[in-house]
């Protein structure tokens, strides 16, 4: 499964956010995109996932030889794109359990498999929750409603572990996480990371990269990737800031 982004230009309300961006992510690779605020990192993740507010003016996004720009967001999800949101949305009145089962059954449907009953799903989700040290009472609460920042992020990764996506995009996963939670979450991500999956990390802070070691480091500025390197680029960044690499 390869993600190929070519010459992508995208805008919102006539303001150009991505400016002829190129990126290729292959199986089993971990990429990180860093860059100053407003460089378009989060926008890129939303456009890959199909957020309707952004308009793609030019360029293409292919995943697994499929033209993502022609697919609705839920179809992109079925193709294996998963975005862990920087700010997961609260859905009042819908329990986490019902939501997770619905999402899981949509995937089952798409793959031509039988839907699972609530009882079957209970044992499945119990196992996954343990991996992330999520207490079961968490599942009876309304989706993300009143969750702490850390709980929301943990819940995002629970969804990821459940849906077994092919391309995992982590948008500022480390914000709102303490060290212990970060270790647990990163451990679960790596446990579920396979030869057929890839990872795109979007972050401000290199802290998370101690746990998820990237093969490629990209620096983004004004809507395009201006430098690509290895982990050394991070060290340089940590010592001298963005000014030194831009």
């Amino acid at each position: 499964m390869t993600l190929k982004i070519k010459n992508l230009e995208a805008s919102i309300e006539n303001k150009i956010i991505l400016n002829h961006l190129n990126l290729e992510i292959k199986d089993n690779e971990i990429h990180v995109i860093m860059g100053p605020n407003g460089s378009g990192k989060s926008t890129l993740s939303k456009i890959i996932a199909g957020h309707p507010a952004y308009k793609v003016n030019d360029g293409e996004i292919y995943f697994n030889e499929k033209n993502l720009l022609e697919l609705a967001p839920e179809m992109r999800a079925h193709e294996g794109i998963f975005l862990a949101f920087q700010y997961p949305l609260e859905i009042p009145g819908v329990t986490n359990f019902d939501f997770l089962r619905l999402a899981y059954n949509q995937k089952q449907n798409y793959e031509g498999k039988n839907e699972v009953t609530p009882i079957e799903f209970m044992s499945l989700i119990e196992k996954k929750s343990k991996e992330l040290e999520i207490p079961m009472e968490f599942l009876n609460r309304d989706l993300n409603q009143g969750f702490s920042g850390g709980e929301k992020k943990r819940n995002e990764i629970l969804q990821m572990v459940l849906l077994q996506p092919k391309l995992i995009i982590l948008d500022e996963l480390d914000s709102g996480l303490d060290i212990d939670a970060m270790k647990i979450i990163c451990h679960a991500i790596l446990n579920n990371f396979s030869k057929n999956s890839s990872l795109l990390i979007i972050t401000h802070y290199p802290r998370i990269l101690n746990y998820l070691k990237p093969n490629y480091v990209h620096i983004m500025k004004e809507g395009k990737i201006i430098r690509t390197g290895s982990l050394e680029l991070i060290e340089q960044l940590e010592q001298s800031g963005y000014q030194s690499v831009l």
């Binding site: 967001p73 992109r76 949305l89 859905i91 949509q106």
Partner: protein
């Protein structure tokens, strides 16, 4: 950007515009009175039903009052004028004699109810729900009569009650909603044809959920049913009504009265799932649902709880209310009102606190689609003698259609300083971000909207009897489901 927005609106429209499933009509012979209302029509109704002089006078007095009253025009609703001489006030499926058992009911009528998902054959139906089915003006059958009889519970059509329990009828009929209460109450009191009657004796918990199913079939007839529920000291009952009608291009009037009386420590839970025909997508036809529902908590520690899911009718105009006379009594109102196309709903409640330490709780959820109008109107009144009362109200509106409106009119009157009234209101729209989040997890647009709405209504759905909570959720999803597939 613009085209994407349009695309989304288009999908929303598809999602909401599910055609009405219950719009068929049953071809049976029926006996109709000539259209119009006058003294002899009312005498004829009374005669047809073999009523005693109490009932006949009750009707005639109500008619005299009605003649002096004017059609109310204080609401924000857009109501086409109703010609009361064009309505047939009595329509009965033609039967040779009084029905003794289900076998004698016209199989066409049984089929109609089965199409509606209401099975009247006792062995096949919901295991612990007793049903009274009202077809046009007359009650067809009441199931599980025997089992209820053993517990001492009376559950029958109001016509049967008038014949068999005249003392109860004389004592309680019209005592909560007097015939002069309002225009439609007076009309109903004059011409009501049938409805349900429940009497729960002292120290009795009703062993079954009671349910009435109302169906308007005839084109020119109005439906004027009347429900009376009495819960004696230390008793408890849960009652549910469901409603459908065929599609006709002219509007039809439904003006019902529901009266509830709860004595000391008694509890009445009254639930409604209203899905009358709402008119077509241009606003032609549909039912005018003008209903007076009121309960009185007479005894100390009594409780009346109204739950309604209102999805049908061209116009819904009703305020199920509680008069809290008993000390420490409790009144509750939980409502979901969904309006689409040109539907109008002006609904809410009145909580009248007269007893000390009485409490009330109001949860109202309005969902407006298309070009509909959805109004919450509620009164909380605390009398000067009603010390230490509490009220909590929460009114949430959800806008789905770009040309729909949602309004909230709370009237709060408190005349003593020891009582507390709290009111919260909020209006929200479907958030693109929430939809995107759900879709990113593989959930289709229409399912995502259904999920958001069902979450929005959860506080109310959980108040419905268990057998019907899932049904209400399905009904709402059905109303919202995509027309494709």
């Amino acid at each position: 950007m613009v085209t994407e927005k349009n695309q989304q609106n288009f999908e929303l429209k598809q999602v909401i515009n599910q055609p009405y499933k219950y719009g068929f009509n049953t071809d049976i012979e029926s006996e109709n009175f000539p259209k119009g209302i006058n003294k002899s029509i009312i005498e004829l109704i009374s005669l047809k039903k073999n009523e005693n002089s109490f009932l006949k006078n009750f009707r005639l007095e109500a008619y005299e009052k009605w003649k002096t009253m004017k059609f109310p025009n204080w609401s924000n609703l857009d109501i086409k004028s109703i010609n009361f001489d064009e309505i047939s006030y009595y329509s009965v499926p033609k039967q040779k004699k009084k029905l003794a058992s289900l076998e004698e009911v016209d199989p066409e009528i049984i089929k109609t109810f089965e199409k509606l998902g209401i099975s009247l054959s006792e062995q096949k139906k919901l295991s612990n729900v007793a049903i009274d089915a009202v077809f046009d003006s007359i009650s067809i059958t009441t199931t599980f009569k025997e089992k209820l009889g053993k517990a001492g519970v009376i559950f029958c059509s109001i016509s049967d009650a008038i014949r068999d329990f005249p003392e109860l009828i004389e004592k309680f009929l019209g005592k909560v909603v007097s015939p002069s209460d309002n225009f439609f109450a007076a009309l109903n009191s004059a011409v009501f044809s049938d409805g349900s009657f429940c009497y729960i004796p002292q120290n009795t918990l009703c062993p079954l959920e009671l349910s009435t199913y109302f169906r308007i079939n005839d084109k020119d007839s109005g439906q004027f049913e009347r429900t009376l529920i009495i819960a004696e000291k230390n008793s408890s009952v849960s009652y549910l009504e469901g409603c459908t009608a065929p599609k006709y291009s002219q509007t039809q009037l439904h003006a019902a009265i529901v009266e509830l009386l709860a004595f000391e420590n008694a509890q009445i839970k009254y639930s409604t799932v209203q899905n009358w025909y709402s008119g077509d997508n241009l606003g032609v036809g549909g039912i005018y649902n003008f209903v007076t529902k009121r309960g009185i908590c007479l005894g100390n520690n009594s409780n009346i709880s109204w739950t309604q899911v209102e999805t049908g009718s061209a116009i819904t105009w009703k305020y199920p209310s509680c008069v809290l006379l008993g000390e420490n009594s409790l009144g509750e109102f939980y409502s979901v009102a969904l309006t689409n196309n040109y539907q109008q709903a002006d609904t809410g409640t009145k909580m009248i606190h007269l007893g000390k330490f009485s409490k009330s709780k109001i949860i109202s959820k309005g969902i407006s689609c298309g070009a509909s109008k959805n109004i919450y109107r509620g009164l909380v009144k605390i009398a000067s003698t009603a010390l230490f009362c509490r009220n909590f109200s929460q009114c949430d509106s959800f806008l789905l259609g770009s040309s729909s409106t949602a309004s909230t009119f709370p009237y709060l009157e408190s005349t003593n300083p020891t009582s507390i009234i709290e009111h919260e209101a909020k209006i929200s729209k479907v958030s693109d971000e929430q939809l995107f989040y759900l879709m990113q997890r593989g959930i289709k647009n229409d399912q995502a909207i259904s999920l958001l709405i069902s979450g929005f209504c959860k506080d109310v759905f959980t108040m419905l009897p268990m057998e019907f909570a899932a049904e209400a959720d399905n009904l709402l999803s059905l109303k919202l489901e995509g027309t494709v597939g």
